[in-house]
């Protein structure tokens, strides 16, 4: 039993389980949330489920939905691959499973953060609209020239706990990759070292010389 437990890649197992948990919770809780006004507009964003709410109407953008499905399947396959690999790290195919699984949570995380940064930068540069990644900001809406009304919009945004959980999952999967060397090395001692053959010649001894 001890030998079986010693063969498990615990980081991989934890990473696989955490990845699956991230997928499940991300269906219900966003990684990043933007609120405009008093819940006038809400953006719930995660790689797995992105939706928007405006005046009690919830909607998704079909292209973003397709990317969400890609991320969902990617993370599930990664989690399953990490689980299978972790339990059987010594199998011949395990290294492929590890290679398939360990990078995906990290890449999903990176694409998500880079995507958010790029979108907020585009809004800032093109529309002069400051959307905060974390914290709050007040923006003045551009109104037709000559209008004597100024419309200011308060918005607040922040990363939610599933985002931090995703970072943990990605970290565990990366750690599993490094721990793999230790797990792989652990199976080496099972190969028996051949005993040295007995020497056929007895060590030569010098006979004592007896003085005449």
């Amino acid at each position: 039993m001890k030998a079986i437990l010693a063969k498990i890649n615990w980081f991989g197992l934890a990473g696989g389980i955490t990845t699956i948990i991230v997928v499940v919770v991300s269906l219900f809780y966003p990684w990043w949330q933007l609120t405009v006004g008093d819940d006038l507009l809400k953006a719930n964003v995660s790689p797995v489920n992105t939706n928007f709410g405006f005046l009690d109407t919830a909607f998704t953008i079909p292209l973003i939905w397709a990317f969400n499905i890609v991320s969902l399947l990617t993370l599930i396959s990664s989690g399953v691959a990490m689980l299978v690999y972790s339990i059987l790290p010594a199998k011949s195919y395990s290294k492929h499973l590890l290679g398939f699984g360990y990078k995906k949570p990290l890449f999903t995380l990176l694409f998500f953060v880079v995507g958010l940064v790029v979108i907020t930068l585009i809004l800032q540069v093109v529309l002069n609209f400051n959307v905060p990644l974390m914290g709050s900001a007040t923006n003045t809406l551009p109104l037709p020239l000559g209008s004597d009304i100024t419309v200011s919009v308060f918005m607040s945004a922040g990363f939610q706990w599933p985002f931090w959980l995703a970072i943990v999952a990605a970290g565990l999967c990366i750690a599993a990759r490094f721990y793999h060397k230790k797990v792989a090395a652990a199976k080496q001692p099972t190969e028996t070292v051949a005993a040295a053959p007995p020497t056929s010649a007895a060590p030569a001894t010098t006979a004592p010389t007896v003085a005449a």
């Binding site: 009690d56 998704t60 397709a66 990317f67 396959s77 100024t150």
Partner: protein
């Protein structure tokens, strides 16, 4: 071993290609629909048909304003009919009042308390105007014979659902020094 590698590569490709190609095929006759969902069009239609848009809140005065000499506060009551296709919460109203003729600061106006009005509902809104001592003197000296005084509402800000509408308005205010 190579079969596993091949299988994993195929899975990686299928996972990326199938959802995107499938969605594009679903919207092949309406590619704009990939970016703008039908709900967004419905929201735009509803907003443009409601007469709401960026017009801001519409207020109808109710009854005569009440003036309390001790606190130099005038209480004005309005009816607000919510014509927007959504519930409205008026969190605050504020602004400075200036005499339109002489530019003298008369005081401030504020919303009595936040009001939530469901769509289609009409509710009463109470606005309080508090005049300064100088304003009372000004009413007595410069506008003693006027029942209503023209005033400018400077920096009038209405906070509706966290969106702030700021405007300068012209209004008529009851003269507290008018004796009839």
């Amino acid at each position: 071993m190579d079969k596993v590698r091949l299988l994993l590569t195929v899975i990686s490709i299928v996972i990326v290609v199938v959802p995107i190609v499938g969605t594009v095929l679903m919207y092949q006759n309406n590619l704009l629909g990939l970016f703008i969902p039908p709900e967004a069009n419905e929201i735009i239609d509803t907003l443009s048909n409601s007469g709401g848009g960026s017009e801001g809140p519409m207020l109808e005065p109710v009854g005569e304003p009440q003036y309390d000499e001790a606190s130099r506060t005038v209480t004005m009551t309005f009816q607000f009919k919510n014509t927007f296709p959504f519930d409205v919460s008026i969190n605050s109203m504020s602004g400075d009042v200036e005499c339109a003729a002489h530019g003298i600061h008369l005081g401030t106006i504020t919303l009595d308390k936040p009001v939530s009005i469901d769509k289609g509902e009409t509710k009463t809104i109470t606005i309080l105007g508090t005049w300064t001592e100088d304003a009372i003197t000004h009413f007595q000296t410069a506008h003693a014979r006027e029942e209503m005084v023209d005033a400018n509402l400077v920096g009038f800000t209405v906070d509706v659902k966290g969106i702030q509408f700021k405007m300068n308005q012209r209004m008529e205010i009851p003269n507290p020094a008018y004796k009839g």
